[in-house]
Symmetry: D2
Subunit: 254 residues, 4 copies
């Protein structure tokens, strides 16, 4: 799969929040075989101390995607993206603009504006948004590199509550669709991939699992499985039963 | 996982109906790495002609589970099980008693009675049933080797429509629980495993896929993924958002 | 609607458990305009003291339906039905046989057997059952007067978790179908009626409401609304949007 | 319920599209007892011929809410609102801006901008929007009189597919929340009201029903039922069964 000018072998992207330790986070990321890992710029220690989160994320084959978590406006987001660009030497940015402190829902207006400005500045923008089909098309016009619609509120583990709208988004999109937020189990990730999403971003479900490293592997497999099913084409859902086994009363025939 | 006296490395069981050719069925079965494959006794060619379905299923490491599909009563089921025992040299039988020609729903009364009789005769009985928690306990008392509650009508691909009842069945069961019928996508199989089901049986979803062999692999991975997630323990579902990334307005602090 | 030889003007049946007082229960029942109210025989005070629950249920136009709640076998159920018949002078009985103390799921085997015996004795039997389409047909053969499939576990307020199976039951039944257990809100009751159920039985959702009398009225209206919608025929569900308002860009035309 | 400076006795708002005749539409509107009816300005015949839709909608007690259906930008919407104001002598307008011809999803950016401009001009604005909680708050800041989040794509009859987001919107809103689009059955309308929505707007489900007049009455009752249930407070949903009837094995005690 390609986003902007980069090709990814894995369709599982990972977040870095909520792990009980940086060490455990690192193990889970490596186990997931993810090639794109997002880090809140706020968490980066610019004095590069030993406990700097970046020390645990930097690996060959892993792209670091700084995110703007914590900002409330387009202006703040552009500023943070520029800081990230300088600090991490990347022009990729995950845009997260959520003025709402309780449900952390993204702001469609500020997000579109920040996308326009950052795209003009040459950034590769991956905006986190509500599963709003029209907003997705407007982000394309604004030069976004992908869209990242939510499945359910961040950290809720509720799964694809926006299913009906993700279907429309996927059908219409000309940029990659990455389902972000709400994915709480491998079955949710598999479902997103079966629908034709290009990738998923998972964080909470892995970080808070009993065994995050094992859960990371479970997600890796689910994403691959869902993608294969999409490529192999699922059968139709029917409301009548259709016997798998022939049903004539064969005893009569013996 | 163990059923009766047999240990299985794979938790994906497969059916053999609806494939467009025996050759394709064989490839899909091998790709799935399933170790238990069910065959309707009716389809077995006792004259052992070249096109006999069994020629395509018999492989080292694959157990053949004859099923009674097509019977309508306990009496017929016992008779067919005995025929199967003789013809296939196995005392395992998948009990399918569905008098209903349209929705193919199983008959709880005949199924319990046949299970009792067959268990007394020394059979290892795996009954296909509605997701009825009390019936499951009664089947245990009758000596069943496993229970096979349905997720949705056979061949419907609708997924786990019986979710709330499967939860109860799994919580209460002392024999393995194998979710049978209705599983239409790898995400459904993963969900069943995440809930703690011991195995799933898939047929239609693989047989009618655009590419059955690839779909078989997708199911294999989904089942393993779901099982790993179950073992690694999923986090709770919450109705409030909980930020993966820290949310304080860090710009103020810079 | 007719069950056995009785005609009912209301399709809302009520239970009598869990109310905070008999007085409140009485007010809620009267407000609901229900014509069929079920009472656990166990709760009937045969010494006819002042606080006997029956004093609060007996009203012109209300039929009392004794239920066998608390029994675990067909034999016990038949005995309780006969006691009820003598004590309450009715040959109607709601059969509830649930050996399972935690989820209170009904026993299909004992229920069918008790239905057969009671029907032969001339009882009008209304059995509470799992939403099992084949069991429903067997109960018809046994002489049942109606079937009462559950929507979700008793007292769970979860709604119609058995939706896909209720659809099949309703399509196939020749006796009235009364959805029992799990209905937790008027919208659930409306949905059951829209599907074509003949009636619903509600208890917990009314008894534990903040204002049970007002909630009883809400259920009464929802049941009538759902029935009217069934009769008026709902439109199809479509996955594409279809504009209610004409969509041509009329500004161009002005 | 109050919106802007008007008080409404009915919480059921109606649309006027898709009816097979104006006469039938009129009967359904009157049967619904709705006090707010929306009409696409495009459909208004400014030459006031006999077949003008307005002749069928104008009744004492019914407020006509012109809508901007067919426009694609804020600029067009403002222009149409002004035309409507002149033609219909009302400063109320339902804002519908959907550039997308297939799914008719509303545009969040243009809708916010039009709301700002129209509110400044003194209009009472009721914008049709995606169920986006942040957008709803921004519309409040822009001076909206209500928010009209969709339940599902217009005309789909799919119900409240945005349930999880409507919950957040309702919890946070300081203006009335009117669920618009997707409501396909009285049970959906009852559910919206039970959640605490202030009103619902229904069109397709009534217009395409087998009997639109009867369906209008069904919706009227469902809306009242759902509102009563909201006021009477529903009980909690639990995953364990809780017996409505006492469950001790009373036979032992007799």
């Amino acid at each position: 799969m390609q986003i902007a000018d980069k090709i990814f072998g894995s369709r599982l992207f990972m977040g870095t929040g909520k792990f009980s330790s940086n060490q455990l986070m690192q193990e889970a990321i490596l186990a997931s075989e993810s090639e794109l890992v997002t880090v809140a710029l706020k968490r980066v220690d610019f004095d590069k101390n030993e406990e700097d989160i970046l020390q645990y994320v930097k690996h060959p084959g892993i792209n670091i995607l700084p995110n703007t978590s914590g900002v409330r406006t387009a202006k703040e987001a552009v500023f943070v993206a520029q800081m990230a660009c300088e600090a991490l030497e990347t022009d990729w940015v995950k845009l997260e603009i959520h003025p709402d402190p309780k449900y952390l829902m993204p702001d469609p207006i500020e997000t579109l504006q920040a996308t326009e400005e950052l795209a003009k500045l040459g950034f590769k923008v991956l905006p986190y948004i509500h599963a709003d089909p029209v907003l997705c098309k407007r982000l394309e016009d604004a030069g976004t590199s992908a869209v990242m619609p939510l499945g359910a509120p961040i950290g809720s583990n509720k799964g694809l509550k926006t299913f009906d709208f993700l279907e429309i988004i996927i059908a219409q999109s000309v940029v990659p669709v990455i389902v972000d937020a709400g994915i709480g189990a491998p079955s949710h990730a598999a479902l997103a991939m079966e629908m034709g999403a290009d990738a998923v971003l998972v964080n909470t479900a892995i970080a808070v699992a009993g065994n995050p490293v094992k859960m990371a592997v479970a997600f890796k497999m689910a994403v691959e499985s869902g993608r294969m099913a999409y490529e192999a084409k699922l059968g139709n859902i029917s409301s009548k039963a259709v016997a798998s086994s022939p049903l004539t009363a064969f005893l009569d025939e013996q």
